[in-house]
Symmetry: C3
Subunit: 138 residues, 3 copies
């Protein structure tokens, strides 16, 4: 059995989802792993990783609007040094999570037909984000 | 060290929790792994995996009702082609997550006494759901 | 490639976050793994694991207050045998999750500069909590 690690950099255009399925799949394929496990970790506290529908931009907009309702901007927060979108961004990151682990079967990640892997940016401004990846298998 | 992968199929009766702890435990035992790591991935965007109390159906009902309050049906969504329960189902899937990773110690998953692994169906209709599993260890 | 497992015990002072980054990092270092993967699993249904800002106690207070708004105490629940904070604690545990998986690169967990690993206690009373860890690598 062997393993491999890497770090991928992504530029986000501000709040919203960036699909990274292909980037992860390309790295898995490059490593020639047929059976194994890939783990992703987002190195930030105001961005996160999630899996959702890969085919409908309406889903992405609805998801973003819902996150705003669940963790709204406003006068709720003690921590606001970095602006009104900062603390809600931390909350959305905790709610959606920063880790994903996906089995690799038959040389491909075992994702469902409609599943895409997304880097979710929760700050208003564009950011440079880093995702660490670990791959194990043979 | 060795690894094993499989796919388990479950039929859900519509919205609610289906406990799958025994199915996963049986597969781990079958593989004869004493020390290792088991990872589960649900291949859907309107169902998910979660760990909660295994002994109280009141907890399951309260959890379901709470998910309905946090991600309600209603006129909030642009994405409603597949019915009013579709977008809330995507949101509940993101909120609860589709991955779990559990250490195996002494030949058993290191679950707490009261922890059960559940497949959460978020659509109203019965569905056939698939969970991919990866096991690593020796 | 080799692996190691352990169980860490923590005493929580009741509701709030306990940072455990150093405990986990110390165990990873002790095992001399340079490249690999560490997985944490919290064995409870009213406590959880999460990653958030490691430098601001205002963030921790805001996070706690937000969890109380999203999963409030009150007359919503059928399950209240163990007190009004019991069912909200189960909900917060599901919302934040009980698993984390973090790549190890260059002998250290690939955490971002501002990321800390926290054990989140969701009950009012102090508890003794257990976290199972699995480490894999070389």
């Amino acid at each position: 059995m062997r393993q491999s690690v890497t770090r991928l950099q992504f530029r986000t255009p501000g709040r919203g989802l960036t699909e990274i399925t292909r980037d992860v799949a390309a790295w898995v394929a490059e490593n020639g792993i047929r059976t194994g496990l890939v783990t992703l970790h987002c190195l930030h506290t105001s961005a996160s990783l999630l899996i959702t529908e890969n085919a409908s931009s309406a889903v992405w907009r609805d998801l973003e609007a819902w996150l705003d309702r669940v963790a709204p901007e406003g006068g709720y927060y003690a921590h606001d040094d970095e602006g009104p979108d900062d603390m809600p961004a931390h909350l959305k990151s905790v709610l959606t999570g920063v880790n994903l682990s996906i089995p690799v079967i038959g040389g491909r990640m075992a994702l469902g037909t409609w599943q895409g892997i997304f880097l979710a940016e929760h700050r208003r401004a564009p950011h440079r984000r880093e995702v660490a990846l670990h791959l194990l298998g043979e």
